[in-house]
Structure formats: C-alpha cells, structure tokens
C-alpha cells in the first residue's frame, strides 16, 4: 500500500484537538467549540439504541422533501406535517433530527450543557483563522452607540431618495440596504469603499454552505477584507475614533493584538440576517395585510408589536443547527453524541399548542410575549417568538447597568425606528398594483425573506 504511515499516527486515539493555536476558539456562550468528550474512558462498544417499530414508521413524509425546491420556497407545510406527527423526526437522508415543537426547540436552544452550536468558521473549515470578538464589552458599546445614533438618519436618507423617485423595491433597497449602511457606519468606513465592502461581505456570508464555488468566493472575500482592515486597524490604533474598528484596535487581548482576520471573523459571526430579514418580512406582511397596516398607521406604538408578530409569523432564520455534546435522552429517544438537530424556529413559532391561530398575522395577539425573552423564552406566562440570530435570551433577571442593551433590544429598536421614519416620510406608502410579493430563500438553509417588494409613495 502506498500511503500508510502518516494517516495512522493521526487517526489513532488522537487526543481532542482544540481549534486555535494559542487560545481555544470559543462559541458565543463561552463554551469551547467542541465538547471535550474524547477521553477514551467514556465510550461504549455496544448498541443500546432502540430500533423503530412498525407503528413508528414516518410514512407521512419522505426525507428527500426536506431538500426539495418546494421546501426552499415555502417550508411551512412540510414543517407543519413534522410538528403535527413526528415530534423528533429522524431524517435518515440528511443524517439529522428535526425539532419542530415550541417546547422542544426552545429547550434545546437554551441548553448549552448538552447541545452546542458550531460557528460559521467551523463550517468554513478555517480553524485557526481569527478570533470572534463580539463578546468584548468595548465592541458592544461602540456598536450600540453608533447604531442608535445612525439608525434614524440613515433611514431618513434612504426614504428621502425613494420619495423623490416615487417608487422603490422595499426589499432590496430598504430592508437589504439599511443593515449594511448601519454596519458600515459602525465601522466608520470611507464612503467610497461601501460597494467594495458590501460585495465581499455578502460573499463571505453565503460561503460557508455546501456550494464549493461559493465557499471559495467566500474565502477570497474574507482574505480581501482582512487585508483591507489591516491598515485601518493600524491607523486607528494611533488615532482612535468611537467606531467598532477603533474599539477592536484598542482591545488588550491575552493572545496578542487584534488583526484584520479578527475583524473579519467578528463580522462573519455577527451577521445582519435577522435585521435584514425581519425588516423585509415586517413590511411584506404589513403591505399584504391592509387591515393590520391600517392599525399601525393609526397607532404608531403598535409598530413594535407588528415587528414581534412578524418575527413570529415569518421568521427569517428558519432553523438553527445544534449538535449534541453528549449522549442524551430527550423527546422519548436516546440521542447520540454528535447528532445534528435542526431546531426549526419557523415551526415552533407556528405551534398551535402555544399560539392560537398560529398562521394568522395578528399584531394584537395576546398570547405572544411582548417583552424580551429570558431564560426559557417565557415571560409573564406567555411564550415569546423564537427569533434565532438574536443571541440567546439573557439569563439575568435584569440587565446590569454597565452593559449595553442586548442585541435583541438593539435590533428591535432599530427596526421600529427605521420603519417609523419610513412611515413618516412616505405616508401614502402602498404596494405596487398587481404586485404579488412572496417569501422565499435563495437557497436551502438560507434566510427566508421577501426579495422583491415593489411599492409606490
């Protein structure tokens, strides 16, 4: 055999390798990216999984349906079938489990002891690339301050442009643009670099999926962005401003000063999807539900509830992948270590055991919690919508004074502010006659949102 030796050394009982050269990569919650479950004392050599019996056959659904084009366009019917019939569906084809009920999804999403998320960097297979600095307080403060300061002016600027023109595509020119304009303003990039940044930022965000061409484009974009941030970091280390890059440049990190790659990873992991998607879906729902829109026009304070209801009714981040850190018994099954769990927020948010008439978009619904979810997604005895991508609900009963507002609150306030500005500037905002907008994903597993929403003013 021609290739024996190297492989043997690598494969045999290799102790758990922790990613990152000098410091273990940490997930959002401060847990290491991988569970340290590789100690050779805790494995079994025999099977204890119960096989399925005849009555457990899942014949109402074929696993191939979960990768079909119809599922990408509208996942709700299939997810509904799963939720109704198969609470912890074993997807043989995708080698995964699907969780679709509210209580299951939230319990797994909140349980860091037994389940872990894997970063986008992990899916990129770039273990030693950079550090995720989103948890640094200085970064969070800079971000909060600039988003709060810029949300209204940027929204105003965009809205003014529309109204002068008389028509616009609200999805692409408002919902997709606003978060990126905000991002650029928090980084305080020169105006002429906007196009350069946006293009690479998008490629980076779409590159960690299964498509190899996109993955390469994403890696190239990351390298270009890292090279772009390098001189900016140096300049702002000398002459700091109040922006996020200056905050990163000024960090005193144990593992050495921040690099361009760290900025890139921080941007990669903290994406814009929820803000973009929620903004688009909120306006899609308002414009296609005139009765609800009328209520918001009449009473502006309902905008916040409309936003929360839009997140519940049509969440842009359909599911989150979680991996079992240990063998764990849940939902009447013994779940294997390393198992992949799709926690389908889209299905949980339309769980009829939790929300009455779950398919109806009703901004005044009384069974949706209006406060920021804490702990187990319940507050005041009511369930909150599962909005993945907003970070985990805080475990603290109250937010300490010396911390910025949560991502949840920042996103909510930004969207309410921006939408309010749009309504003020264009009071006669209406859907282009004959337009039939719809929700959809560009590709399996990506943000589920409206990509074309033509309006007149």
């Amino acid at each position: 055999m021609s290739e024996p030796s190297k492989f043997v050394e690598q494969s045999r009982r290799k102790p758990v390798k922790v990613l990152g050269k000098s410091q273990p990569s940490m997930s959002r919650s401060g847990m290491p990216l991988f569970a340290r479950n590789g100690t050779p004392s805790d494995y079994r050599t025999y099977e204890i999984y119960q096989r399925e019996r005849v009555h457990e056959a899942t014949e109402k659904i074929r696993p191939i349906a979960l990768t079909s084009d119809e599922f990408v366009r509208d996942p709700y019917p299939i997810l509904g079938t799963l939720r109704e019939n198969y609470p912890c569906y074993r997807d043989w084809l995708g080698n995964a489990y699907w969780l679709t009920r509210y209580n299951q999804v939230t319990s797994v999403f909140a349980d860091d002891a037994n389940f872990e998320s894997r970063s986008k960097l992990w899916f990129y297979r770039l273990p030693d690339y950079g550090r995720d600095l989103r948890d640094e307080l200085a970064v969070q403060f800079a971000q909060e301050k600039l988003i709060d300061a810029n949300a209204a002016p940027i929204a105003q600027h965009i809205a003014d442009e529309f109204v002068r023109r008389g028509s616009a595509d609200l999805a692409l020119e408002f919902a997709a643009r606003l978060p990126l304009e905000l991002l650029v303003s928090t980084l305080d990039l020169p105006r002429q670099d906007f196009d350069f940044f946006v293009e690479r930022y998008w490629r980076m965000q779409r590159g960690f999926g299964w498509n190899p061409a996109d993955e390469q484009a994403g890696r190239i974009a990351m390298a270009e962005l890292a090279a772009y941030f390098e001189p900016l970091l140096a300049a702002r280390r000398e002459k700091p401003g109040d922006d996020v890059i200056s905050a990163i440049a000024g960090l005193q990190l144990d593992s050495g000063p921040a690099t361009g790659e760290d900025v890139v990873v921080t941007l990669l992991e903290g994406d814009h999807e929820t803000m973009h998607g929620a903004l688009a879906n909120l306006w899609f729902l308002l414009l296609t539900h005139p009765d609800q829109f009328a209520k918001v026009r009449q009473e502006r304070r309902l905008l916040k509830f409309a936003y929360l209801e839009a997140l519940r009714h049509s969440t842009p981040v359909l599911w989150k992948k979680r991996f079992a850190r240990h063998e764990v018994e849940r939902f009447g099954r013994l779940l294997p270590i390393g198992g992949l769990f799709y926690c389908a927020a889209a299905a949980a948010n339309r769980d009829p055991w939790i929300f009455e008439d779950p398919d109806t978009f009703d901004i005044e619904r009384r069974d949706l919690c209006q406060r920021e979810p804490r702990g187990h997604y319940r507050s005041d005895g009511l369930a909150a919508g599962v909005a993945l991508g907003l970070g985990k609900p805080s475990k603290h009963p109250g937010m300490p004074e010396d911390r910025p507002r949560s991502l949840y609150a920042i996103t909510r306030d930004t969207i309410v502010t921006a939408s309010s500005v749009l309504l003020d500037t264009a009071p006669k905002l209406r859907l282009e006659s004959g337009a039939q907008p719809a929700l959809g994903s560009l590709r399996l597993g990506e943000m589920h949102t409206c990509w074309n929403l033509p309006v007149r003013f």
Binding site: Y49, A57, T67, A176, P212, L442
Partner: protein, 479 residues
C-alpha cells in the same frame, strides 16, 4: 453613489439567484458524460476541481461514478458533505486503517439501516463483537462451509436443469438459439435458496423469504416503503421466533447427496451455542438471521449478474474462464473490485479525530466508500479497467487482513479487519459454483444486445456504475 445598491447586490449574490431562478434545493441536473469523464463542477483558482455534493443524487453519478470518486481520492481524501452531514473516506489505505480501528471508528448503527434490519451483530465493537461474531460466523467458513458445498451444487444444478420449463418472459427459444434472462431465471433465486438451505428453513417458508427480503431491502432509508419494510421485519421476527422454539426441541440437520447427516443446520447450532455459559435468546438468534436474510441475497445476486455482464463484454476473458474453471475465483474478485454492488459502510467517530487535516468531531457519521477504495490508483493499476488477469489484485483464499504475504491487496467490497463481511466465503462459493455450472450449460454464451438498455450513445451497452444490473439477457446455443 455612482451605482445603485441593487447593482451591488446583484454582483455579490448573482441576478439569477436574486430572481429565484438559481438552484434552490439539494437537486441539480448534471449532464450525462462519456464514461470516465467528470461533468464540469468548476475549478478552484489553483486548478483543483470542485466537488458538488448534489452529484450524489444524480443519474450521471449512478451510471458513471468513477471520475467523481477519483476527484475525491485525489483532492479531498476526507470529504465533508454538508448536505447530509457525512464525512467520506475514499482511499484504500485510509479505509483499511479505519476498519482496523473498530473502537475509534465504531459500527454502532445510527444509520438508516437499523430501522428495518434491527439490532444485529455489527452493533458491537471490540471484544463484544468478537465473541458474538465467532459464534455465528464460524458456520459460514472453513470446514462448516465445505459441508454445504454439495448442497450449493445440487441447488444450482436443479435450477439450471429447470431452464427449459421457464416462462416465455424469462426464456425464449428461436431455432437453435435460446435467450434467457439470467436474473429471473437464476441469479435472484439461487442465493436465497442457498441461504434458506443453510439456515435450515423449511421449504414452505421460501416464498416468505422473498417477501421479507424484498420488503426489507426496499424499506431502507425511510423511503416510501419504509413501513412495509418494518412490517416485513416484524413478520420475519415472529416467524423465526417460532422456528427457533421449534428447533430447540427438534434440531434440524444438513445432508449430503447420499443422504448422510453432515451436521446441524445453523439455527439448530445457534440454539445450542452459549456466551458466558448462557444460551442465546430467541431475540438474539432472530437478529442474526435477519442479518443473513438481508446480507445474503442482494449482494450475491448482484455479483453474479455483474460478473456475467462484465465477462460477456470481454469475450477473451470469458473464453479463458470457460477454458479454465480455476479462473472463476479471479473473475469473482475482479468483478467485486470493479463493479461492487454495495457502495460502502458507515462508521461513527468515537472520539474527535483529525484525518488528512480534516477535524471530525466525536459522533460524526463517516462513510467508508468501499467502491472508491477498490478503484484507488494507489493500489490498483488502471483501476477502471476490468481485467481478471491483473497481478495487483489478491484473489486467493479470503483474508481478513486484506492483503497476502507478498503485499498484494484484495478488493474492498467485503471490507477488511474485524468487521469484514461474514458472508464473504459463502458468497464466493455460491457465485463461483453457480457460474461454473452455468458456463457448462450455456454454450457459446453472449449478451443479447437487443434486449439490453444502452448508454447515452444509443449503441454501447449501459454501464453498471454503482447500480446492480436488474436484467441480463443472454443468448446461447442449444446443443
């Protein structure tokens, strides 16, 4: 802004994708390529070909898998398929390492098969596996197997002698030339009959056997027939449980052609076997039998079909085999190397490991692609050519190690190491004995090209790819 924001988005995402016209789900159309050439899946900047995981579900891959596995072997020896959360190991040497380390790469089945197959011996690793496997596997090798050879010969002879009475849809006679469909006439039923005989199933149970076998096999992987598969499994279980109880009281025996007792049949032997002083329970025996039922049919059936199809397309090699009976072993092994009817075996990483620079977290599913290992150019010269005279394939007595003292490797179809296919020896006997007798009967055999499906050029015969041949029409002269 000189450019509108929409233009920037179109450049970043692609206008086709933005209009919802791009590829959405896990399905894509790939062009059917000439054999041995891969469809264009794009190239990296350094010239490395990309690998699009959607190819696994395409028709192109099923008929022409070799060039795609070659890309994996040469450029992605450990490939992570994000579409189905599975790692693929494709090189021969790597696979051998993993197969030998059955603690690090365990066989505990969390894959699609155990739904219908139930808990079987491959659920164990290490010492737990060894003692159970020996208990059961010893009946299918060596002396025990020799005892069964006369029965195998007799069954083959009986079936072939019955050819003239076959239905018009299976055998046609035109003057001095007969056409026979090898599958329905012989290859489908023969292995099943052998397995029934070996297990000691009563004759009247054989029609159940086809029902069990076909339903269980088609019910794998949560397909539409998943439920039927599980029902069949339940039915098999109930039947065998009764049979085992019966055999505990009245053991069954095997006989040679003269009617002398050769020994107990397998079920009766298992009834008398013990682990740690305890007799096996009916449930344990049933699960062994389910494994034999599932493993003993399709594999041998596909091998016989593929072997004849390959040989008849290489008339010089076929002539050599007809002239020298001893070459059937080489033909059998070369067929399994070239056109293995089973693609690969699943393993799970017990610990976090790093293979070829790819970190595999504990618990991940790793597919050992036997099919690709057998076509590894690091081990076999011109691996995509069918050549039973090749000197780099070991085709002697089957060895668990996977290579002989001279370092010549066997093919990967049976795997290697502690979990090597326990049916390898008996399947070898079935295929070679059956084919030897067939070759004596089918004078001047050749493929009936009119009845066989063609490849994309409309002329040459369709390749086997990773399929099993369903039908094989053979013309032969009547004496």
């Amino acid at each position: 802004m000189a450019e509108s924001f929409a233009d920037v988005m179109q450049r970043a995402i692609g206008s086709e994708a933005l209009e919802g016209a791009g590829d959405l789900g896990g399905k894509a159309d790939f062009p059917l390529m000439p054999l041995g050439e891969a469809a264009d899946m794009g190239f990296a900047q350094d010239g490395t070909p990309f690998f699009d995981p959607r190819i696994f579900y395409s028709a192109e891959f099923r008929r022409n898998p070799w060039p795609y596995y070659r890309i994996l072997r040469n450029h992605y020896p450990v490939y992570f398929n994000k579409l189905n959360n599975t790692y693929y190991v494709t090189r021969y040497a790597d696979m051998t390492e993993c197969y030998y380390d059955d603690i690090g790469f365990n066989t505990i089945p969390k894959g699609s098969s155990n739904g219908v197959l139930g808990n079987v011996t491959h659920e164990f690793s290490g010492v737990e596996h060894r003692r159970r496997r020996n208990l059961f596997g010893q009946h299918l090798v060596g002396k025990a197997l020799e005892h069964r050879v006369p029965a195998i010969e007799r069954l083959a002879q009986e079936m072939i002698e019955a050819f003239p009475s076959l239905d018009e849809s299976v055998r046609k006679v035109n003057g001095n030339v007969a056409s026979v469909e090898l599958g329905r006439a012989f290859a489908y039923e023969f292995p099943v009959r052998v397995v029934c005989d070996v297990l000691g199933f009563p004759k009247e149970a054989q029609h159940h056997f086809f029902y069990w076998y076909d339903s269980i096999m088609s019910g794998l992987g949560a397909s539409e027939t998943h439920k039927q598969g599980m029902e069949a499994r339940q039915h098999l279980e109930d039947y065998v449980a009764d049979l085992v109880e019966e055999r505990r009281k009245n053991p069954g025996y095997l006989y040679d052609n003269e009617g002398n007792k050769l020994g107990l049949d397998i079920i009766s032997k298992l009834c008398a076997s013990r682990i740690d002083g305890d007799y096996l329970s009916s449930v344990e025996i049933t699960s062994y039998i389910a494994l034999v039922v599932a493993g003993g049919g399709e594999t041998t059936r596909g091998t016989i079909m593929n072997m004849w199809y390959q040989l008849l397309q290489h008339p010089d090699q076929f002539a050599a085999v007809v002239a020298d009976d001893g070459l059937w072993d080489a033909a059998f092994h070369e067929t399994l190397r070239h056109s293995n009817p089973i693609g690969g075996q699943p393993r799970h990483a017990t610990f976090d490991v790093e293979l070829h620079g790819v970190h595999i977290p504990a618990g991940s599913l790793i597919e050992m692609v036997n099919f690709s290992g057998s076509h590894d150019e690091r081990v076999f010269e011109n691996p995509d050519n069918f050549n039973l005279f090749r000197s780099d394939l070991y085709s002697g007595k089957l060895l668990r190690s996977g290579y002989n003292k001279g370092g010549v490797c066997s093919h990967m179809a049976f795997g290697v190491g502690p979990h090597m296919c326990p049916g390898a020896w008996i399947s070898h006997q079935e295929a070679t004995i059956g084919s030897r007798i067939l070759a004596r009967h089918l004078l001047n055999a050749r493929v009936n090209t009119d009845m066989m499906p063609k490849d994309i050029d409309g002329v040459s015969l369709a390749p086997i790819g990773i399929n099993k041949l369903r039908d094989l029409w053979i013309d032969y002269d009547l004496a």
